[in-house]
Amino acid sequence: MDLLQPLMAALAPLTLFYIILGVVLGIVVGSIPGLTGSMLIALSLPFTFTMEAVNAISMLVAMYVGAVSGSLITAVLMRMPGTAASVMTTFDGYPMTQQGKAGRAIGLAIVASFVGGIISWIFLVLLARPLSIIAVRFTPFDFFAMIMMALALLVVLSRGNMLKGLIAGFLGMLIALPGLDPIGGNYRFTYGIDALNDGFKLLPVLVGLFAGNQVLAEVLRPGGQRATAGVRQDLKGMFMGLRDFSRHWIGMIRASLIGTWIGILPGVGANIGSAFAYSIAKSFSRQPEEFGKGAEEGVIASEAANNATVGGALVPLFALGIPGSVIDAILIGGLIIHGLQPGPGLYRANPEFVETVLASVLIANIVMLGVMYLATGFIARIASVPTKLLLPGVLVLCVIGSFALANSWFDVGVMLAFAVIGFAMERKDYPLAPLVIGLVLAPIAETSLRQATMYTGGSVWPLLATPVPIICAILTAGMWYMMFRVRRVE
């Protein structure tokens, strides 16, 4: 692949502007505990309607890179991960802060994030095109098997209660059912309501779940203000020396590879990647007892891996049209809104588009490095602004965004309903990620299985007797085994 041309396209002034804007917004929103990258991207999506597809998707991807990175600041300084991606970073990052080494912790985390981003980007570039070329040969049975693998992994990898993850996933699949039947084109479960003819559209559901829900949660939070200890930290020692590199490069690369791999697996995102890499770093460490007390290796593993999942997750998105993470599920909505059909045909039908977006991912990582170095102190101060002050704005954006999709008030109602559902679920510790993945994957699973049986005239035999489904089954079993072991170690 010729890299220069897409790179130049991504460096076009307007595109570059949107990438920088995306990274900065991503970092800021990612650093504010309670606001997440998913929320930012879901809310921004409607505002990209009028933008060119390349700029729109580049900006959204840049937000993704920024949000995963920005969350480390508050994780290290205040022990409050900006997003779930940096939960593992708090374990060693905050102890380092208590020991007066905040600058060093943040410096290591930034470099690890950058290395993770770059390594996964290399895999993204190397894998996306070949995979998309092979992918047109994948039969619907193959797709069905891959999606079943994603759903199976999602349940076992969702942290916390597995049963609740399963229930959330099924709920997501149920929500996907009303509307046009994807094969026959008949309406189902619409109960005669015209507005339900398109079912629950992805965007209002996501905006409700991730943004509306947050507004509700903050408004109803007992005891008013969140305690934000105004830690004024000395950020000296942020810049890594060569000696640090020689000491930590193995850990960085290992965590990046783990993160990339976890990212590629459909449906699982940054938080799982960093947890996995953290556990493995601990088991390889010569001083495992230091983990949790300020181990530099822990910070590096968590941050390299969570950024690496971004590039990894984009591989199945661009090659197969299968989301590699929750944010990817929102990006799928973005592609559709811009008239780009996600799936194995995307790369070949729009090579310039995909390659420019890939180049944008690289640029976003470089911009991220610069912004994080220059503005960490400043962002730390923004991040301690009480979230309540931002809520009215967020709510307005929720309503505008949902309405703008199809100029329909019904969608606004859907958004509000899902804000309540999301709030209730989180209150009861049901994870939202499986719901979103179930919602996005159910139609693809249904379509591929029903297509598959149309090809064979009803037989499902290829599902048991062709290579791709068998490989998927083996991979799933292997990941289950490993995950159960990791859980036991924890």
């Binding site: 597809a53 026959g184 008239g339 194995p344 045909g345 199809a406 090809y455």
Partner: protein, 314 residues
């Protein structure tokens, strides 16, 4: 008698006098063109390409409103229920007719004023380049055999109807229909040799034909396609067929005739702009224009055919 005549005369005079005044008033506010599909899709791109030329010809501004979903029925419904004041226009095509024939729409195309038909996207029958078939007869012969010939279509859409119409004209031929979906997905299925035959828009088929990955075996419109000059039409191959995606420009029924005419004239002026026609041709579309009164019988005829095919699906 005399009095009646006088009243009629006054009425006529009034109408004649007020008509130009009304026409001059129109448009005094932005005209909404409803695109019954998402932003960035084929219909959206077409309407937005036309927009500046239409605004110039109409002497007023135009707002494009995307109402995606329900296979275009949602947007069409929005248009048919709008006030018939000349400020709502729907751009839709044969999908409106197939939705009606399959009982997915609870209104008829006759509930609209047909302003005009303008711009056509030609359809072609495509096979993978590894396929042994080079003509419709050959593939129909294969479809008579015992091995299934898999046709990738969007069930209930125009590509499905086209295949059904061809199949019905070849005794004993039977395709195995598989839902591949829209153009992009059907293209991927052809490239992966998952399907034996599919129907694509000419513009979708052009790049993959030039790269040698697929072969076009028939054009489905009345005439050969300018950028596929060697490909014979289905009619030339002995099949009765005239199918293309021709855009219908519709206003809600009951819209004042002078406003219908004003928009129709603007569309006609826009379509005669060489700059616009060149852009459309570049994108694989065929510029055309027919006022509603001329086009209506053709649309009715096409609907009768589609209804007949739909009846066989029951």
């Amino acid at each position: 008698m005399k009095r009646m005549n006088l009243t009629a005369a006054i009425a006529v005079a009034g109408a004649v006098l007020s008509a130009p005044a009304l026409a001059q008033d129109y448009p005094s506010e932005p005209v909404r063109i409803i695109v019954p599909a998402g932003a960035g899709g084929g219909t959206d791109v077409l309407v937005r390409t036309l927009q500046p030329h239409l605004e110039e010809a109409l002497g007023g501004s135009i707002v494009v409103v995307n109402v995606p979903g329900s296979g275009s029925v949602g947007g069409s419904r929005r248009a048919v229920e709008a006030d018939p004041d000349g400020y709502t226009v729907l751009a839709n095509h044969v999908t409106l007719l197939t939705a009606m024939a399959l009982d997915k729409a609870d209104f008829r195309h006759t509930d609209f004023e047909l302003v005009a038909t303008a711009v056509e996207i030609p359809l072609v029958v495509v096979v993978p380049s590894s396929s042994p078939h080079t003509s419709l007869d050959e593939i129909m012969e294969a479809a008579r055999g015992s091995d299934p010939v898999i046709a990738g279509v969007n069930l209930g859409a125009v590509n499905h109807f086209s295949m059904l119409m061809l199949e019905a004209q070849a005794d004993g031929a039977e395709f195995r229909y598989v839902q591949t979906g829209g153009g992009a997905a059907t293209t991927a299925a052809l490239l992966g040799e998952q399907i034996d035959v599919g129907v694509l828009a000419g513009s979708e088929a052009l790049p993959i034909t030039e790269s040698g990955e697929v072969r076009v075996i028939a054009a489905l419109g009345g005439d050969r396609i300018p950028y596929f000059p060697e490909i014979p039409t289905a009619t030339e191959q002995g099949y009765e067929m005239n199918m293309g995606v021709e855009y219908m420009w519709l206003m809600p029924g009951g819209t004042p005739q002078d406003r219908v005419t004003a928009f129709q004239d603007a569309l006609g002026v826009a379509m005669s702009n060489p700059e616009l026609t060149a852009t459309l041709e570049e994108r694989g579309m065929i510029p055309s224009f027919q006022p509603g009164s001329d086009a209506a019988p053709e649309v009715d005829e096409l609907y009768a055919v589609i209804e007949g095919v739909a009846a066989t699906l029951e």
